[in-house]
Amino acid sequence: MNRIYVGLLTQRFYTLPSIRLEDLKLKPLASIVSFGLSKFGKREGLYSRELFYEAAQEAFERAPNLDPRRDVQALFIGQMSEYFEHQGHMGPLAADWIGLENVPAVRVENACASSGVALRCGLLAVKSGLYDVVMVGGVEKMTHLPTINNVEILTLASDNPFEQWNGVTFPGLYALMAVAHMERYGTTEEQLGMVAVKNHRNGSMNPKAHMQKQVTLEEVLSSKPISWPLKLYDCSLITDGASCVILTRPDIARKYTDTPIDIIGSGQAYDKVPLCERETLHNIPAAKRACREAYQMAGLSPGDVDLAEVHDCFTIAEIMAYEDLGFCGEGEGGKLIEEGVTELDGKIPVNTSGGLKAKGHPVGATGTAQVYEICLQLIGEAGPRQVKDAEVALTHNVGGSGATSVVHIFRRRG
């Protein structure tokens, strides 16, 4: 059952940057030599700097040949907002806290796509030839604040005068998209709920996930309304956590690891911040553009992907991701989850980590946390949630209600 979305190829897009695709095809942009993830959850008494330290420690332990102070030449760290801890200037702060030399240290902000974009920045730095070894990652500390304050800070990713000023929340913006999708395609609340059930089932096998208990469809459908039709269990978690990945030039990766993972495709796109300005409300055009660029660079199509970590900030977001990434046709996302195609034992497992839904969504950390899961899967360390013969994987990270999207494609090196 190979459902390649033909529309992906026929949509009108901007001209891709003038890169010689022949040069890039099947030649990695950069290679991953190590990765780390803090425990995700309510991490009382620990702040961003300390959570990032925890993630970095794992990455350094996995690569004993790498000397952080000698080898890491730059840091790109994603963080969605300074307001959570009233702390800006996260680049230098994180670099100092994990013991790097006085290298360039940059904080990247693209709302919920901050660390996905940080990864892309690191990749561009390595590809430019100016840097051989770069660390990328992300962090967010959220649970120390009351929910109402988190709700407010999260709205920063929307347009202030035309969205925040009208009382929107993030569940609200995705609910608007959900209703548009339901009206157009007949997608049901049950189908949305199935995404939550799947991701909680996967999350229960992930010791680092925020939430490890499973949920039934009945529990999801009867959970309290947050922004109709989205209910509590349709929404990802407010979580503390950090993630990081270490990239190198492909030809020196084996100095630091026996299991390098090559990044063979990368795409990023922006779209209007205010939802009302988008061409369509029932999908995320920026994600379509971003994955098109990534697939083209990798010389692959949706049917070649063995597993994916997608941006399920809300259940509807995962359903739209199936369609935007070409795993099924327009409007067929609900059917795809119903048919079990994206289950752990399905044709294209999605969010084996538990996704943002169960693993949690420490906003700035999410992008590179998706990469962490991909890396575990591609080196065969995913334990009970291991996908057999995983070779090619994709990450899909979205900022705000779709104003940023960044997609990466990875391949296990032989």
Partner: protein
């Protein structure tokens, strides 16, 4: 209505709201229309964009009922936010008020109303919002006015 010479800006948009006018932007090059004031066309990139006044009537194309609000809207929850497609062909996100949530449906006709600003500190803007369009007056009623 003739397009204005005034350049579209966020501040200007809300000043027009204070005068009971809902403005939208039209691109003189490609004809596309959009709500959020900008100096360039969001579709073709042309700087030849002008402001027009909308009649303020449209239909609801999607909506949600927000139960968990941000702090400034704490006292209004639950409240309805929707996206309205105005008759001139642009979309705008708005609060939907003066209607029971149970009576709201996609496709319903709405009209704009305005709320005066009530803050000194920034943001000091007023607000537009949408309410159900009242049934049109019969010709008999008009002749009596």
């Amino acid at each position: 209505m003739e397009p204005l010479e005034e350049k579209p800006t966020v501040e200007g948009f809300y000043q027009h709201c204070d005068r009971g006018e809902l403005m939208f932007v039209e691109c003189m090059s490609c004809g596309s229309k959009f709500a959020v004031p900008k100096g360039v066309c969001g579709r073709c990139g042309s700087k030849n964009v002008k402001w027009r006044r909308s009649r303020g009537v449209g239909r609801l194309i999607t909506y949600t009922v927000i139960h968990v609000p941000p702090p400034q809207f704490k006292d209004q929850a639950p409240y309805v936010v929707g996206i309205v497609e105005l008759r001139e062909g642009f979309k705008l996100l708005s609060l939907i008020r003066e209607v029971n949530p149970g009576d709201i449906h996609v496709g319903m006709e709405l009209k704009v109303k305005f709320e005066k600003p009530n803050r000194i500190e920034w943001p000091h803007w007023g607000r537009y919002f949408f309410t159900p369009l009242k049934p049109e007056a019969s010709s008999k009623t008009i002749s009596m006015l």
